[in-house]
């Protein structure tokens, strides 16, 4: 028992030193806070899939009351903004290629006649597919305008669709992205911090001094992992505050549960980072390896694109990615208000990853040192 307390006191001394060394450097203090703040702002403002304005061009060859009425429906939505009125079909290429408009609507000359005959009047919509997601959204808007128009003309009993979106009533993509950033942004830094922790001491020559103390490799590992986990949780808090108070995204779940989850998630990423640290010979390698790992981890996390859209093989690969579970967990707790049972599926795999990577790092340490 006494030996356990002594051992914990030694680890505590190492933790204190790590945190002091980290916070005393003014450049470090900036790096710990600056990027997380800037990036959460950037993601909050720039990362949006919500199409609110569609600049479009009109080629009205019908010049009829019917066509004018139809087009006014588009203008009436507030989403479609008429940027150009064209006089012939050849002009369409110009306005679309240059990116001036996202969409061109071409009303044929026989539009009014066909409608009057009770037939179908085809209206051509040309979309700029250079960003097919945006194009798809714009197409969806036009579609619903046309559907409403037809319904009104037919004077049929209307079937209205009443939409309700759970957890994100306005389907704001900021709500989708920012809470996920609570996990993502902190991972970037904790991974790097953990990866550099040993490499930096090796490069500065302080590692030998540390090794001649009675500290065991396991104590060194734990003493270096704890501060990195703390930094990760603090950064998560920073992003959480930005999401909650700057962007006003309401939080539905329990704060305690969120932090429990984040603790598990950060431990898993620190475990991965410590393994890199044991492998890297110098700081440059540690940085490059971390970077090499971070890109796929982010892309395969379900942060921007749904995991379900990935091919089977990659879907299986994501099970080794702590961020996949981290992103899911934060979203579930923050937006869904999930309870403990709701996050078990995310929490357990992260613990498994931590339980594999930490001993792996310890093993690597011992073998590298020998």
């Amino acid at each position: 028992m006494d030996r356990l307390i002594a051992s914990i006191a030694q680890i505590f001394a190492l933790c204190r030193k790590e945190i002091l060394a980290l916070l005393k450097d003014p450049a470090n203090r900036v790096i710990l806070i600056g990027p997380a703040l800037i990036q959460s702002m950037l993601f909050g403002y720039a990362a949006t899939f919500d199409l609110k304005h569609v600049p479009y061009a009109v080629l009205d060859q019908s010049h009829s009351a019917a066509s004018t009425e139809f087009l006014s429906r588009l203008d009436g939505t507030g989403i479609f903004e008429r940027q150009a009125t064209l006089t012939n079909a050849a002009q369409i290429a110009g306005v679309i290629n240059s990116g001036r408009v996202l969409m061109a609507v071409s009303v044929p000359a026989d539009f009014a006649t066909r409608l009057a005959e009770g037939g179908q009047a085809p209206v051509q919509v040309i979309l700029d597919g250079r960003n097919s997601t945006t194009a798809g959204a714009a197409a969806g808007y036009v579609n619903s305008v046309v559907t409403a128009y037809n319904r009104d003309r037919a004077g049929q009993p209307a079937v209205t669709v009443v939409r309700r979106a759970w957890f994100n009533p306005n389907l704001d993509s900021r709500w989708q992205i920012l809470p996920a950033m609570i996990a993502t942004l902190s991972m970037l830094q904790t991974l790097l911090l953990a990866a550099l922790s040993v490499a930096r001491e090796r490069e500065q020559g302080t590692f030998d001094q540390l090794l001649v103390t009675p500290l065991t490799p396991l104590q060194i590992l734990v003493g270096k992992a704890i501060p990195a986990v703390l930094v990760g949780v603090v950064q998560s808090t920073l992003v959480l505050l930005v999401a909650r108070f700057w962007f006003g995204i309401p939080m539905n779940g329990s704060l305690w549960l969120l932090y429990l989850g984040l603790l598990g998630f950060t431990s898993a990423s620190v475990g991965v980072g410590m393994s890199i640290s044991a492998l890297a010979l110098n700081m440059q390698q540690a940085m490059l390896y971390t970077f090499l790992l971070i890109m796929p981890l982010t892309l395969l996390s379900g942060l921007v694109t749904p995991i379900r859209n990935m091919p089977e093989v990659l879907q299986i690969l994501t099970y080794a990615n702590p961020l996949r579970f981290g992103v899911d967990l934060v979203r579930r707790v923050y937006l869904e208000g999930a309870g403990l049972s709701g996050i078990a599926f995310d929490f357990v795999p992260m613990l498994v990853i931590a339980c594999i990577t930490m001993p792996l790092a310890a093993w690597l340490f011992r073998n590298r040192l020998a």
């Binding site: 006191a9 030694q10 190492l14 204190r16 030193k17 002091l20 030998d208 090794l211 001649v212 009675p214």
Partner: protein, 591 residues
């Protein structure tokens, strides 16, 4: 004096930096001097004297705040590039590209200097021959030993004959053999190519080989002249004294160093103590100090003049390298288990890296309370031996006992009983002195009040400022802090890896004064060094080369083995290593 214009003219030169504490710091403070072409000139001075700053200014890398600086008759402020085309400069840490091979490094510099292909072949073969690097042309520069790297750096600066060669401390961290080789190359080139060389150095024997010496201190020029001129300043003040039988020379030396009113400087040498007395000191008091010893006058040397000059100059202001505070106080009361048996036992120690045998069949003991020196050229295996003794590296085979603990079985237990001071300053630079010591206290298992008391005690003993940031300390204080950290847990054995590398004579004196005090209090000290005169402080020394133990014994015994009984340790060392290498080569030929 000849008619050609001087190669360097400096008038009223000054340069101020912002110090780490934010205060301005005058690195060069109104220096004027002129250097003649075709000569070998030395800049000497303690750390922080401004040697490197002056070198960099002459190379056009730093712009003076005021004053005039002309190199090869060209004003550096106006046309630095033309000067840089014509001179060569070897910085303290020569920037070899470690991932490029020896040949590729040479080619790069030859291309940059536009050396034509026909000249190149002849020049390269001559340089490779002189530096003895011809065997290693394909090896990456990073895999060369420290001495070979330095020689390659020199070769890179000499790919063509420069009009002026600037060498900034070329021999720091280089063993005596490589040091001798370096200077031989330079002297050969001066003779054959009429090279002009300005070199800075901390070794007075190197300065003694130069035509002209400038002594710098705190950014000012203290003195200049030929080595003979300077030497004469200490005329009549230099003596040598033999201690009474059974008294180690270093104890007598310590006694003398502690009487600064009477003695400027004292060094143990060949079982005696060489010292300089204060000009006009109280002769009766000096006699009283040396009552039991035989005192003889001796011929003055350049180092004597240097020490005298610095002591006279520093008399006014406090200096970092002032004698240590430990003089009267025994710093560590390590009286635990004062047995007589050996505290370190090494038997048939072997360490291999792949095919390469770094340490072969080495055996020695170290007695309790002894100062044990581990000497050898770069790459001799002493660092490997040292790391094995500290438990940083497992042995391939052999027995290794430190402080009564078998290192192969219980490394952690042994670690608690040893202290370690690394070659490079290796504490956390951005932590304060107190924070560093507090951390190491914790790592060694000290807790709560006991830790606080121990840390406060050692800070007081070593006269450190607890709030100062470690990285900003002057070199001498960094060394003290590293020692303090190594002694925090009152170890039985203290390991010091090249503690004096790159440190000027003044700071070295104060360092060794601390070590002698430690030894008197019962701590065993194991030390590696490149300064052979420092072997004189040791009770026993071991000389290693190519992984083998060549000599083991007291400094006197080792000197006698070499056949050079009255000379310096330096020569004895070189003789032993060369004899062994010749025997090896002879053995190979015979086989």
């Amino acid at each position: 004096m000849n008619d050609t214009p001087p190669s360097v003219v400096i008038e009223g030169l000054s340069k101020t930096f912002t110090g780490p504490d934010g205060k301005p710091f005058r690195a060069i403070d109104g220096i004027s001097l002129s250097i003649q072409p075709g000569t070998l000139v030395a800049l000497v001075g303690p750390d922080g004297a401004g040697k490197t700053t002056l070198m960099r200014m002459m190379a056009g890398l730093l712009r003076p705040d005021s004053g005039r600086l002309e190199v090869l008759g060209i004003d550096l402020a106006k046309d630095a590039q033309t000067v840089q085309n014509r001179i060569s400069y070897m910085p303290q840490r020569f920037g070899l590209y470690e991932d490029l091979s020896v040949q590729e490094n040479l080619d790069l510099y030859a291309d940059l200097h536009g050396v034509p292909a026909d000249v190149r072949a002849e020049r390269f073969s001559r340089l490779l021959d002189m530096t003895d690097l011809a065997r290693f042309t394909g090896r990456p520069a990073g895999k060369l030993s420290g001495g070979m790297k330095q020689k390659l750096g020199l070769a890179c600066t000499l790919v063509r004959v420069p009009d002026l060669l600037l060498l900034d401390e070329p021999s720091v961290g280089v063993d005596p053999l490589s040091r001798r080789d370096l200077w031989q190359i330079i002297e050969q080139l001066i003779a054959s190519d009429g090279l002009s060389v300005i070199g800075s150095t901390a070794y007075m024997d190197e300065a003694g080989r130069c035509d002209h010496v400038f002594v710098l201190n705190q950014g000012t020029l203290l003195a200049e002249g030929s080595p003979d001129d300077l030497r004469r300043r200490a005329e009549g003040l230099t003596h040598v004294v033999s201690p009474a039988d059974g008294v180690p020379a270093r104890d007598l030396q310590a006694r003398m160093i502690d009487a600064p009113d009477l003695v400027v400087d004292a060094v143990p040498s060949a079982g005696q103590v060489r010292f300089i007395c204060q000009p006009g000191c109280d002769q009766a008091a000096l006699k009283a100090l040396l009552h039991d010893c035989d005192c003889q006058p001796r011929k003055e040397e350049l180092e004597d003049a240097f020490m005298l000059l610095l002591h006279q100059h520093d008399g006014s202001g406090g200096d970092v390298s002032a004698p240590p505070p430990l003089a009267s106080e025994a710093p560590v009361a390590s009286q635990n288990g004062h047995g007589d048996g050996p505290v370190i036992v090494v038997r048939d120690l072997v360490r291999r890296f792949g095919d390469f045998t770094a340490v072969a069949n080495t055996s020695f003991d170290v007695k309790r309370g002894e100062i044990f020196g581990l000497l050898g050229p770069n790459g001799a295996g002493k660092t490997t031996t040292f790391r094995m003794l500290c438990g940083l590296l497992p042995a391939t085979s052999g027995e290794l006992q430190v402080a009564g603990v078998n290192l192969r079985k219980a490394r952690a237990a042994a670690r608690a009983r040893i202290g370690y001071v690394a070659q490079k300053f290796s504490l956390y630079s951005n932590l304060s002195v107190y924070e560093n010591l507090d951390f190491f206290g914790g790592a060694y298992g000290l807790r709560g009040k006991a830790r606080y008391q121990r840390v406060s005690e050692i800070i007081r003993q070593f006269d450190l400022d607890p709030d100062a940031q470690s990285g900003n300390l002057p070199l001498g204080y960094k060394q003290r802090l590293a020692m303090a950290a190594g002694l925090l847990h009152e170890p039985e054995i203290l390991f010091l890896d090249e503690p004096t590398s790159g440190i000027d004579p003044l700071a070295r004196r104060s360092f060794w004064r601390t070590i002698t005090a430690l030894s008197q209090s019962g701590v065993t000290v194991v030390v590696t060094t490149h300064f052979m005169e420092e072997a004189e402080y040791c009770d026993r020394i071991a000389i290693q080369d190519a992984g083998r133990l060549l000599a083991l014994g007291t400094p006197r015994e080792v000197r006698e083995r070499s056949g050079i009984t009255d000379g310096y340790m330096n020569e004895a060392f070189i003789a032993i290593v060369e004899q062994a290498r010749a025997a090896e080569a002879g053995g190979l030929e015979a086989a």
